[in-house]
């Protein structure tokens, strides 16, 4: 008998996770910690002090060449042509029918010595291979374009430091002041370690938790040392390693969509409520942009008949979960895409796609939770907004 085995990918921090109570699970083919202690404790630590997240599993694609910007502009739903050096932008990649291939961050990065620049695309782990193939296909279609893509996912690690003390803590490791950086900006930096090592790195004021914070991209071989020093130096300020479980509850409270749940190839950006992430023209009244699915979306802009992404709140302890049907007036009008018990709010929250007649904030609906009828109400998104 031939043993079937799937080799899971491991981040440079895998050994640390396994040795420090990380409960390892398969996430998009990666062995990742879902939690170390308790999802609720890790969640609160991020909201109140600082959470450290290993997000090395996310895909990091570097683009060089004078054609890199135009190439990305031709593939992303948002403009890349007017992205300033040092700016980061949330965007979508869509297929020819306007379905969402992935949601991404695109970075325009200055080289540290000031000579030149490149673009960086951070994509979901679950979509990395698909996106690489998609971009390669477009690169191959016109070999005159001066653009080169390099998949640096395995060369670089990525650590998110998120929460009220995150910027201060991370700032102690870099030779720039992240507190002076605007949200959604990136800068090349040198990370200094106690061993004296100096790492070429990127620091960005970005995150996926609804908290302030930074994300650090460092060479893989130094990730474990940096991670440990962040924890050691941050321990007295409440810095805590956080797994994917709390990453999910944090992003859900902040109403950030997760690919495979709120987003997939059958969903348009308009349905997802991500109109802001689609530029059909270059500036208001400007010339039309062309990217895969743009023409389909031009026809969709006013289409109010499709199911919409909404937030749901409920009382009690039973949470609506993915795939639970949503009923309005006794009829199924939609389906839950993510749901949990909100650690910050203390009650169940969910995101769902529902028909327009049930999508208005305040609408009373019923969620069928494994045969039980759970009263719920359409609520404003996000569920949580930070005060500071």
């Amino acid at each position: 008998m031939v043993a079937m085995s799937t080799v899971m990918r491991e981040t440079p921090l895998h050994e640390w996770h396994a040795a420090n109570g990380g409960r390892m699970v398969d996430f998009a083919g990666w062995s990742m910690p879902v939690q170390y202690t308790s999802i609720v404790d890790e969640h609160h630590a991020t909201r109140r002090q600082a959470g450290l997240f290993d997000i090395s599993h996310m895909g990091r694609l570097r683009f060089d060449g004078s054609g890199a910007g135009p190439l990305l502009d031709s593939l992303l739903t948002r403009r890349v042509d007017n992205l300033k050096v040092g700016q980061v932008r949330y965007s979508l990649m869509t297929n020819e029918s306007g379905g969402i291939l992935d949601d991404v961050l695109v970075y325009r990065v200055a080289e540290r010595d000031g000579a030149g620049e490149h673009h960086l695309l951070v994509v979901n782990a679950s979509n990395r291979e698909k996106i690489v193939a998609w971009i390669e296909q477009h690169l191959a279609a016109d070999t005159t374009v001066d653009a080169k893509m390099t998949d640096l996912t395995f060369d670089w690690a990525m650590i998110a430091v998120q929460g009220p003390v995150a910027v201060e803590l991370a700032g102690e490791f870099v030779d720039v002041d992240p507190a002076a950086m605007k949200y959604y900006t990136v800068t090349p930096t040198i990370v200094g370690l106690e061993s004296g090592a100096k790492l070429d790195a990127l620091v960005s004021r970005t995150g996926y938790t609804g908290e302030d914070g930074v994300e650090l991209i460092v060479p893989s071989e130094w990730a474990a040392e940096l991670w440990q020093e962040l924890l050691d130096r941050g321990a007295s300020r409440g810095a805590t390693p956080v797994g994917l479980g709390a990453r999910d509850t944090l992003r859900l409270e902040a109403a950030m969509p997760l690919y495979g749940h709120e987003l997939d190839e059958a969903i348009s950006p308009q349905q997802a409520g991500l109109d802001f992430a689609v530029n059909l023209t270059r500036g208001r009244g400007g010339p039309p942009r062309d990217f895969p699915g743009a023409d389909v979306m031009r026809g969709l802009v006013d289409d109010a008949t499709l199911p919409r992404r909404v937030g749901l709140v409920a009382d009690g302890g039973r949470a609506p979960r993915e795939h639970c049907p949503v009923l309005f007036d006794g009829k199924v009008v939609g389906e839950v895409t993510s749901g949990t018990h909100s650690p910050t709010l203390g009650h169940p929250i969910a995101m769902a796609y529902v028909a327009p007649q049930a999508a208005a904030v305040g609408t009373d609906v019923v969620v069928d939770v494994r045969g039980r009828q759970l009263p719920a109400r359409v609520a404003e998104l996000p569920f949580y907004t930070r005060e500071h």
Partner: protein, 132 residues
């Protein structure tokens, strides 16, 4: 409460058997290992008193922040009592899983059900394997 007088199901429920009215009464709950694995408990649905269950039936639910798990009856019989204060005091699962954290009592109809359950030592081995 001693763990030594308990029997365990592979699905992580425990049973303590006592004599009552000339029959066997099974008090049951979920193991400390299961409580630890679930963490962050937010909701418990108790079985209904009077319900007839067969060994292996799902007759309750326990929900954590992360997921929902069924609670399976390790024995057949009638649910004669449930721990009404437990849904509002989920911390009892952590504080005293084999005592105050009991879930239900079942008047057993088939003592042979007990033969399918694990001794504390065998259950510990099972947990060690699952934790790997």
């Amino acid at each position: 409460m001693s763990v030594e007088d308990l029997l365990f199901a592979k699905t992580h429920e425990w049973v303590r058997v006592s004599e009552a009215d000339g029959g066997k009464l099974a008090t049951l709950g979920i193991s400390a290992f299961a409580v630890e694995a679930l963490t962050d408990l937010v909701f418990l649905e108790l079985p209904e008193v009077g319900r007839q269950v067969s060994a292996g039936d799902s007759f309750g639910e326990i929900e954590s922040v992360k997921a929902v798990s069924d609670i399976y009856s390790p024995v057949s019989g009638e649910v004669v009592e449930v721990n009404d204060e437990l849904p509002n005091k989920l911390e009892l699962f952590n504080d005293d899983p084999y005592g105050a954290g009991w879930i239900a009592k079942i008047r057993m109809t088939d003592e042979a059900d007990l033969a399918a359950l694990l001794s504390p030592a065998d259950y510990e081995k099972l947990c060690a394997e699952e934790a790997m």
